[in-house]
Amino acid sequence: MIRFEKLCKRYKQLEALKGVSLSVNEGELFAYLGPNGSGKTTTIKILTCLAVPTAGDAWLNGFHTEKESIQAKRQCGLVPQNVNLDNELTVRENLDFHGKLFRMPRRERTKRIFELLEYIEIEDRMNSPVKSLSGGLRRRVMIARALMHWPKILFLDEPTVGLDPAIRRRIWSLIKKIQQGGTTIFLTTHYIEEAEFLADRVAFLDEGTIVALDTPQHLIEAMGAWALDRVCDGDMETFYFRDREEAQKHIAEHKAGFSLRRVNLEDVFISLTGKKVMT
């Protein structure tokens, strides 16, 4: 459904992407994980035809993003990182404008707006100006807007950044619901728990290169199931174990101030790059 090969992007001195290749299957929820500045948004911009790659090719549902950009754009909806709703318009007018850009007939637009606002549970705010909505509601409106033209692929660029944990979980449920409806989702995030909870597969991006690609379970299992952390000379030391018993045995042997926890994707990323995802 999404495929890109050897994508490169250079901004003057900065090489944002260094030949990344990937393919995402139909109906899959794919998380693209990496610290700020790793190239996540650049990849999404290229895939949604907002940026031109310096080299490489990308296809959305078989349509080349450069040579068949109009058809490629029809395949996808985009929820960008920055809120880009028209503040002067109401929720309904924002969705209607999007429908018009995709040449949807008036009757179809009206029906779809009602459907979507009910779907994201804000039908009572249909005629509210966007500027009167909270951050979480705006994000939900952006998701509804991106779904307006029934895209096969949904790109979500940091969809929960800046939202409080309760709202974030609500957005997660909505994303899961959209995937269950058959939409392929490509999500970028630097929230580890978001990727773990939502993704079928994840790719770790670091300095414009994919450093790992697999299911969250496989990546975690390769590290071990349990981790012990301790602070040693001001630095955090972490040890990984296949099972809990093995970890507890280690605590008993060393009698140091360890804290026991489950291994997560952050551990995988640190072991691969020596950096934290959340920077």
Partner: protein, 244 residues
Amino acid sequence: MSAMFAIYQRELLILRKRFFRQLASMSVSPLLYLVAFGLGMGRGVTVGGHSYLQFLIPGLVAMNSMIQAFAIASEINIARFYWHIFEEIQAAPVRNISYVTGEVLAGITRALFSVALIILIAILSGVTLSYNLYFWFALVLNSFVFASLAVGLAMLVKSHSDQALLTNFFITPMAFLGGTFFPVDKMPEWAQHILFFLPLTHASKAIRAAAFGDPPPFSSYLLLASLGAVFFFLAFHWVNRARE
């Protein structure tokens, strides 16, 4: 529903939502010029057999249509740099030609709306002018030139301050030197040669001739149409530059 109309309708919807604010802002400067120059300084002055007020109003029509058509650049830049709506348009299957045409039409509409105000003021002031087909044709051509220029430049600028710079260096001098307030042929010859290259000089000339019922200066119409076509083509070409 084509994407071009979607772009155009969005601008009109915003204009409608800000109707009274916009109305006030569009009428302030022409009203001030009319009072200060038309009724104050120009009282008792005649230019080419017409009262100064009669001379001034077609000039103000040309100047205000230029300013309002060019103001579409600010709307585009607000959408681009502040609300990021341009990104939403770019991510949609909208061809560059549809985008440019929609915005240029919106610029022309703004210009016509502001001119309607000036005509209303002229009628209320008892100034008789001819609003014939040549008048409207010259007005639309002038608006087309500056709306196309505005869309093109809006694609090139990197910030709001760049936009303000363009207005200060091109639009404001043209407003004062393009034959709005005085006849260009009364200027020294060297200055006339320079002012000949300003599109507003030709717009003022064509609109004034039509308003006075004089024979239309076809060369000015041709020049405006050519410039409009060039700026429109450049705007179309520069939309791609706005992509990363």
